[in-house]
Amino acid sequence: MTRNQKLLADTLKATRLWRVWTFLGVQDIKARFRRSFFGPLWIIMTTAFFVGGVGMVYGLLFGQAVHEFLPYLAGGFAIWSLILSSLTDASGSFIRAEGYIKQFSYPKQIYLMRNLVSYTIVFLIGILVLIPVQLFFDQFVLKGWLLAVPGIFILLLGTLGHITISAYVGTRFRDYPHAMGVVLQMLFFITPIMFPAEILQQKGLSFIYQYNPFYYLIDVVRHPILQNEWALSENYIFAVIYVLVIWTAAILIAYRLDSRVVFLL
């Protein structure tokens, strides 16, 4: 069996084992909050604290109306957290599963899917925080949430690509999570999350977000939920292009490193 045949066969087999990785992913969430008093409520509280604190200050700073700015922040923060986990935490996917990888014969890809499951759960809880906020400001429209579904789908595909790259590269180069942490911390401040993209536009600095692929991943989810309309069609196009690029990279990386992972643990 050649290398790409093996990778393909493993991936297909991993897909069929969905019950295994779903179970593992849900267990991870339970384990993460075991023995903590508030449990998964922490996911909501993290967003709430961030939005509460930053919302006040930045709202004043950028002259934003609270009823628009708080949902904007909460949405952006939940999506950003997903991107952040998929690029930093995910680099430990194989390393944390070492005990399993070295003694069971299942394809390694189930440990990628396991992370996708747990990150998705955290993300969904985080983004659902928006609903009470929207209800409070009397902005909740179901249609907006339905229009966000394709965007969420694109975002999750991108997340799986991120996880794959991080898991393989992070196993080979242990500097990876640290490096990504540094880069993403910087990107957090220049991506339109804590401020609206229009502010950059007004200052003639549009290129700062236009060249930032994460902006498109965020916008295709956030814009429909907040504005009850589709995001700009070019934003969907850019998001999809980014996902395709990431997947191509992920496949090439997996192809190169898949057979070496077990020796690198």
């Binding site: 179970f23 384990a31 399993y100 014969s105």
Partner: protein
Amino acid sequence: MTRAFINLQNVGLNFEGQLSTYEGLSGWWKRRFISRKMSAPSSYRIEALKNINLKIQHGERIGLIGLNGAGKSTLLKVMAGIYPSTSGRVEIKGHVCPMFEFATGFEMSQSGWDNMRIRGMLLGMTPDEIEARLPEIAEFTELGEFLDYPVRTYSSGMFIRLAFAVSTSINPEILLIDEVMGAGDIAFAEKAKRRMFKFMEQGKILVFTTHNFNLLEDFCSRTVWLHKGEIVADGPTSDVVKQYSEEHKNI
């Protein structure tokens, strides 16, 4: 029913890596400026398996013998698909059930019950099968109320009981066992032995490593002797065991 088989042709496996003293920035510094004149190697390369040819048919039971470090466990891991071979062809038909370690692969903060579920799934059981067998597995472990505790509170012996009970509760096709009787305290050992033997009977193919010749003669007609990653002898158990004992008589 499919016929299980294992077919290894000219299989070789190398382990390569960097020695930890020469890792990272400090290692680079050392290599560059300090130990320049020293010819100490900074990386290693071990031929763990060399030119292995092995055909195992449906219904065969095979014992692997050899000194420590001969490549027995590595060969089992190649058969299990855990280690990809560096060269040669590996063909395996049938669901592989590896029993290698009882001491790793636990979720420390989760209960014994959840760990039994996870282990069962990773060994190929469906969730329904696991739920149906949980009471029997739990009873065998004799861990009682400890199963509700997070496993980080367990002693090493308790880990072994848990892992052993789950691993031996499945229906294996190809059963690969490293160190057949490496498990269990005295009280548990007799019970574990009986269960293990019953379990070994079920596999359509059984390959196991052992240092116990009685076990070899009881269980398998064919034995493979590995030495430094190569097959030295492959044949009827009594012949191979005889050769092996001759060779190591003096030790």
